[in-house]
Amino acid sequence: MRRTLYLLGALVAAHLLLLTITPSGATIAPEGEGLDIGIVFDVGGRGDKSFNDGAYLGGLLAADSLSARVRYIEPGEGSDREAGLRLLAAEGMDLVLAVGFIFTDDVLTLAKDYPDVKFAGVDYALSFDDAGNPLPLPDNLVALKFREEEGSFLVGAMAALVGESKKVGFIGGMDIGLIHKFEAGYRAGVMHVCPDCEVLVQYAGVTPEAFKNPGKGKELALSQYNQGVNVIYHASGSTGLGVFEAARTTGKLAIGVDADQYAEAPGHVLTSMVKGIDAAVFDAARAVQDGTFQGGVRVFGLAERGVGYVYDDNNRALIPDSVRTRLQALEEDIIAGRIRVPSTR
């Protein structure tokens, strides 16, 4: 008992001593002019090589070129999302960003509680009234939404044109509406250039786990490749890493999603459908800086360069010039409204 008490005393003394140390590089309270931006990540946080990292990149960009001070919060459980937003809003940030559809309710509540702070919700899920019209958003809240189906349409067309097979593959993560958008656009793209093609569609599961199951991804991809598919498009988070693995072992092709995923399987990634979250985040920050911020819905499609596909030195050899020309024509048709891409299946 006495020895334990001595130990306790020593620990408390050590703690008090350590408390007084301030390393030279320690953060001091932010001060001075400039934009203050707070970003709350989706559960899972940074390092997902997908949209959380995209938002992070947008934040870095704002810090660099707008000399904004950016703070990040990674929430743990459900109630942390609102708490994180509130923490930032209460500090009087100029702009608070919520990354992911799961923040929809939280960011709406906060926008009402803090009318002087600007908010932005990436992938914000709109609510509709009984007549099917979207409910208006508060003036200080902007919903950043993406037309993933338009980008998916183009990679679908590319898969059919490059694949040299009547069968093309799609692997989704969790079987939900958000991913059906990718599937619907992809299917429409395939059918547009190859009406007698068949799209093999498989989902990794019905739970959020389906977005992080590379083993299942590989299994599904191998079975599709064995059925004669030459190109598979995945919209499945890190489950897709298994799809790339399968592409590498069979020597066939896969298409990445959200960010440029060429590095996952060099030579076997035909292209990636990229979602410009970084640009959207940066735009929102710049709008606050310029005083041009407007509440409401902002949709990023092909026309706004919010979605697209990767075409660079890495994959130029995989894509014939004729295909590239055809895709550029399709892109113009979509932007001009001559092709309407479905967003539901």
Binding site: M1, T4, L5, L7, L8, L11, V12, A14, H15, L18, L19, T20, I21, T22, P23, G25, A26, T27, V43, R71, Y72, I73, E74, P75, G76, E77, G78, S79, D80, E82, A83, G84, R86, L87, A90, F101, I102, T104, D105, D113, A125, L126, M174, D175, I176, G177, L178, V206, T207, P208, E209
Partner: protein, 366 residues
């Protein structure tokens, strides 16, 4: 006559407190060092942590909110542990409880009297947790199946089933939660204490404290509680003394599950008024740590739940300076430090060590 007895109680309290206090002290020093290696000042970070949790009403409200769920999952683990059972299934039982509460709230007519609706939803939550807990209870009591394995595996099954039900049938489009309930709302503390405005803290914390009192009474003041503890300490002796051991195990698992399920009303009735995928992910497992630090005693569990809730909320508050994993490490250090000083764990370790020695010696002879 009373003086030495009070002295005894004080000594016992001091001894019970010593281990957790020591654990927290160790964790704080480890935290100091980690913060320094990260290039920040420990003084600033700890000040921010306190300011963000106990320093203002909002932060404290968030701590109370998290405390509610942890009290319930802590009680769940402790109640089974008192009977010598290791319930690792609080995660699934908690989710099942929240889901049942939301379903009942969705099904009730809007005009249901508030008290009746809350009671029905709460009973549903406890019932769903109890059913989920009863499955490993029956398997253990009837067939001797290890409750550790069964509760772990059942977590996956329950969570996958709920995921499926919500994602494929009940979810509002583009989200992972159900519609908002019709009835069964519990008011937030902010409704009558304006300082708490905005925080998720709600009156279900009162229900959790009542549950802790009931658990204490059931464990230490009733015959079935005596049987429960007797079975936990030495099942053979209890059986010899006339206790029906399998039935006691089953009863322990049912109550354990009910306590965990009760935790689900915090989010569903008190906060968001709908069931959401992963609404309290991790709280079930954290309940094991809460019960361990609280020495499987309801009073200790309330204190430990406050501690872990403070760390969890504090992690958000200091997130700007240090990664939130720092707080995860602090939690782990507290758990490890307590685990090595708690007599029950020491006994377990000793038993494992002597078993290993015995195995070692038999391997040598053969």
């Amino acid at each position: 006559m009373s003086a030495p007895r009070e002295h005894g109680i004080l000594m016992r309290a001091a001894q019970a407190l010593l281990a957790p206090v020591l654990a927290v002290a160790i964790a704080m020093v480890v935290g100091d060092l980690l913060i320094l290696t990260y290039g920040e000042s420990p003084g600033t970070v700890y000040a921010l942590l306190l300011e963000g949790t106990w320093g203002n009403a909002y932060g404290f409200g968030q701590v109370l909110y998290k405390t509610m769920t942890l009290i319930c999952t802590g009680l769940a683990f402790a109640y089974a542990a008192r009977a010598g059972l290791f319930n690792v299934g609080a995660e699934g039982q908690l989710a099942a409880g929240g889901f049942a509460a939301a379903l009942i709230g969705l099904a009730l007519p809007v005009a249901t009297p508030a008290v009746a609706a809350v009671l029905l939803c709460t009973a549903g939550a406890m019932g769903a947790g109890a059913v989920t807990g009863a499955v490993p209870g029956v398997l253990r009591a009837r067939f001797g199946a290890s409750e550790v394995i069964v509760t772990i595996m059942l977590n996956f099954i329950v969570l996958a089933l709920l995921n499926y039900a919500v994602a494929s049938h009940l979810a509002v489009p583009e989200t992972l939660h159900t519609e908002v309930m019709q009835a069964g709302f519990v008011s937030r503390l902010g409704a009558f204490l304006p300082a708490f405005a905005g925080s998720a803290a709600n009156l279900t914390i009162v229900i959790a404290v009542i549950a802790a009192v009931v658990a204490w009474w059931a464990m230490f003041r009733t015959r079935s509680g005596f049987e429960l503890r007797a079975v936990g300490l030495q099942p053979d002796a209890a059986e010899y003394g006339g206790v029906n051991v399998p039935r006691t195990w089953l009863r322990a698992m049912i109550w354990s599950g009910a306590f965990a399920g009760l935790g689900g009303i915090n989010f569903v009735l008190g906060y968001k008024h709908y069931y959401e995928e992963g609404f309290a992910a991790g709280s079930g497992f954290l309940g094991i740590a809460v019960a361990l630090v609280g020495r499987n005693h309801p009073l200790g569990i309330i204190a430990a739940a406050l501690l872990f809730a403070t760390l969890s909320q504090g992690g958000l508050a200091v997130n700007a300076l240090v990664p939130k994993q720092l707080v995860d490490i602090l939690q782990a250090v507290v758990i490890l430090a307590v685990a090595t000083t708690v007599p029950e764990v020491q006994r377990l370790l000793q038993r494992a060590a002597s078993a290993a020695v015995r195995r070692g010696s038999t391997e040598q002879t053969t």
